[in-house]
């Protein structure tokens, strides 16, 4: 995938984080919040490429690897779903509080190789977070890429992340289509109801000159990639990101290996063909 960018932004020691301030917290869904971070002196902590990761810590509680979902001139953002003790601590943060971050880690989406292609982004649940960084990148470099389809699904309308992007920002972009589905609707939901893999097949994309960026829960990735292969997509053209337990983030601590690859260093972005090469231990 993309070139590995091992520029260390943390005063020489890649394992020591820098302090950042939470400047904005957005409640995306009942259990997902987006945290906008900035250094205490108002700068961007580092400039990640789409798909790269940051090891973010609530100091004193613990640290976790999260995808950087967006960045601006002087900030970066990460979206965190409440699943355990650490993420609960994140959700208790208030704007203005300080946390720490180190990174960026991992490879990134192959922004160069995608140039000139039509792109299909498929996300499920919080899985839209890593893809969002690439969507934003493509929107910023809109001329470099062809038609964009964004297919996104969640359990229910309330669980849709990044509602502003989904319903306002992205649909307005040139040559962009946003397709949303939910597993279960509610009284006010007028959109599609159904699981993502089925919806993707329903949308009947032709594989020609297309690249798919797929991210979501493992089960959704499994069935969607099978659907895509049935639809004629080459495995090389379906790109996804992996999740493993990570501690160091720099390919040393040994935890996130799949075969000889370290997900934190050689991943998290792989295409399906590359994944097929790896031992089945994901």
């Amino acid at each position: 995938m993309g070139e590995i960018n091992h520029e260390c932004t943390c005063h020489g020691n890649p394992l020591v984080p820098q302090v950042v301030k939470v400047i904005k917290i957005t409640q995306e869904t009942p259990d997902v919040k987006t945290f906008r971070m900035q250094t205490p002196d108002g700068k961007k902590p580092f400039a990640p490429l789409p798909g790269q990761l940051g090891m973010i810590s609530v100091v004193g509680v613990g640290e976790g690897m999260f995808s950087i979902t967006a960045q601006g001139e002087d900030w970066i953002e990460s979206s965190i779903k409440k699943v355990g003790m650490l993420t609960e601590a994140f959700h208790e943060l208030a704007e203005g509080q300080e946390i720490a971050i180190r990174g960026p880690y991992g490879n990134h989406f192959p922004v160069e190789a995608l140039k000139g292609k039509d792109l299909i982004f498929i996300g499920g649940g919080i899985g839209l977070a890593p893809v969002r960084s690439l969507i934003r990148y493509c929107m910023e470099h809109r001329e470099d890429y062809g038609h964009i389809d964004i297919v996104y699904g969640s359990r229910s309308p309330e669980d849709l992340c990044f509602k502003e992007d989904l319903f306002q920002n992205w649909p307005k972009e040139k040559d962009t289509r946003v397709e949303i589905t939910v597993d279960r609707g509610n009284e006010t939901w007028e959109g599609n109801v159904g699981f993502v893999p089925a919806y993707v097949e329903e949308l009947a994309f032709s594989p020609e000159n297309k690249k798919v960026i797929l991210c979501g829960p493992p089960i959704m990735i499994k069935f969607t990639s099978e659907a895509l292969v049935r639809m004629g997509f080459a495995k090389e053209d379906v790109i996804t990101t992996l999740e493993m337990r990570m501690k160091c983030g720099i390919g040393k601590c040994g935890r996130c290996n799949i075969g000889s690859k370290y997900v934190c260093l050689d991943g998290p972005v792989f295409n399906l063909a590359e994944l097929d090469e790896l031992p089945d231990e994901k």
């Binding site: 890649p14 100091v59 650490l86 160091c248 040994g254 075969g259 000889s260």
Partner: protein
């Protein structure tokens, strides 16, 4: 150059003047590298140390940084650059340092904690004269008589130790010891392991294709899931990062971890890519014999035999190698 064995204490005193010197010794019945206290015996012969010297460069618990919580967070990196000498380290353990160097100093990031210690350590290696029945380093491609990455290579020359400097650091050591050294010296360098293992050059690649082979069902079952093999292994380098809070202050530290532990790869949501000991033992053997080779071009097993000796279930990686070579 040669050093009379009777001058050994004198030599160590010179080395200890500005560095912590670790020598093979015994604490509470366990032979291991101990901080030389200025007089105690140095046990260069006999069996190798029961514990490898890896904790000198990669401590089993290593503080990384201190922090203060509160309205504004303070983070203070802990920087230690201790001058250390490891004296009498054998070729197998020297090779393990080579492996560690690959891991911590290559492929993108440099691990600052390791590199600071590594830069400031002097490695005075000792050719092995007394392999144990569980030693098989020569089957793993090592020469028990020589450690190419040593700063100084020592070999037994009867009443003397025959020294040869391999690096600038090593030359400096010999210079410092100059007064005790004399020219010449002939060492016997014909040590060979009695345990011969069928470690064929093709095995790493062969194993890569054996991921789903039924052999794993058989060789992994006796494992009790403890970390003995990984903690006595000179090359196992996995670690965990955790914090220790005391009120509004705390320390982030890293400590050895083991891929044999059942919670090693378990994720917050409960998913575990290596849920049973079959996957875990397979990963360890594969890492030692195949994955590492694929990534860094050498085996992660140095044939020291410690895991064979210490495994509570008497599992034996050499039996596995032989078995795998046959299938």
């Amino acid at each position: 150059m040669q050093l009379k064995k009777t001058d050994l204490t004198g030599a160590l005193k010179i080395l200890a003047a500005d560095a912590s010197v670790f020598v093979p010794g015994e604490i509470e019945g366990i032979k291991r590298f101990v901080l030389w206290d200025g007089e105690s015996d140095v046990d260069l012969g006999g069996a190798n140390t029961q514990l490898p010297p890896k904790d000198i460069l990669f401590p089993c618990t290593e503080k990384m940084y201190n922090y203060k919580m509160g309205d504004s967070i303070e983070i203070k990196e802990i920087v230690e650059k201790p001058r250390q000498v490891i004296f009498g380290i054998r070729p197998c353990d020297m090779r393990s340092i080579d492996c560690m160097d690959h891991v911590f100093l290559e492929k993108g990031f440099v691990d600052s904690y390791y590199s600071r210690k590594r830069e400031n350590v002097t490695l005075i290696a000792m050719g092995c004269t007394t392999p144990e029945r569980t030693c098989f380093c020569d089957s793993m491609g090592l020469d028990p008589n020589n450690a190419p990455n040593a700063d100084v290579m020592m070999n037994d020359g009867g009443d003397t130790l025959v020294l040869e400097a391999y690096t600038e650091k090593g030359k400096a050591v010999l210079e410092a010891l100059n007064g005790l050294l004399s020219e010449g010296g002939q060492a016997k360098k014909d040590t060979a392991c009695t345990l011969k293992v069928n470690m064929t050059p093709e095995l790493p690649e062969k194993l890569a294709g054996m991921f789903d082979h039924p052999i794993w069902d058989e060789v992994t079952r006796a494992c009790i899931g403890c970390a003995t093999c990984t903690y006595v292994c000179p090359t196992c380098y996995c670690f965990d990062i955790d914090s220790d809070n005391h009120g509004a202050e705390g320390t982030k530290f890293r400590c050895w971890d083991s891929c044999m532990f059942s919670d090693y790869t378990r994720m917050a949501g409960g998913h575990d890519p290596r849920p049973t000991k079959k996957e875990r033992v397979r990963n360890r053997y594969m890492h030692k014999l195949s994955y590492f080779h694929e990534r860094y071009g050498q085996h992660l097993c140095v044939g020291c035999g410690r895991c064979v000796e210490k495994c509570p279930a008497h599992m034996d990686i050499t039996m596995f190698i032989d078995k795998a070579a046959e299938v």
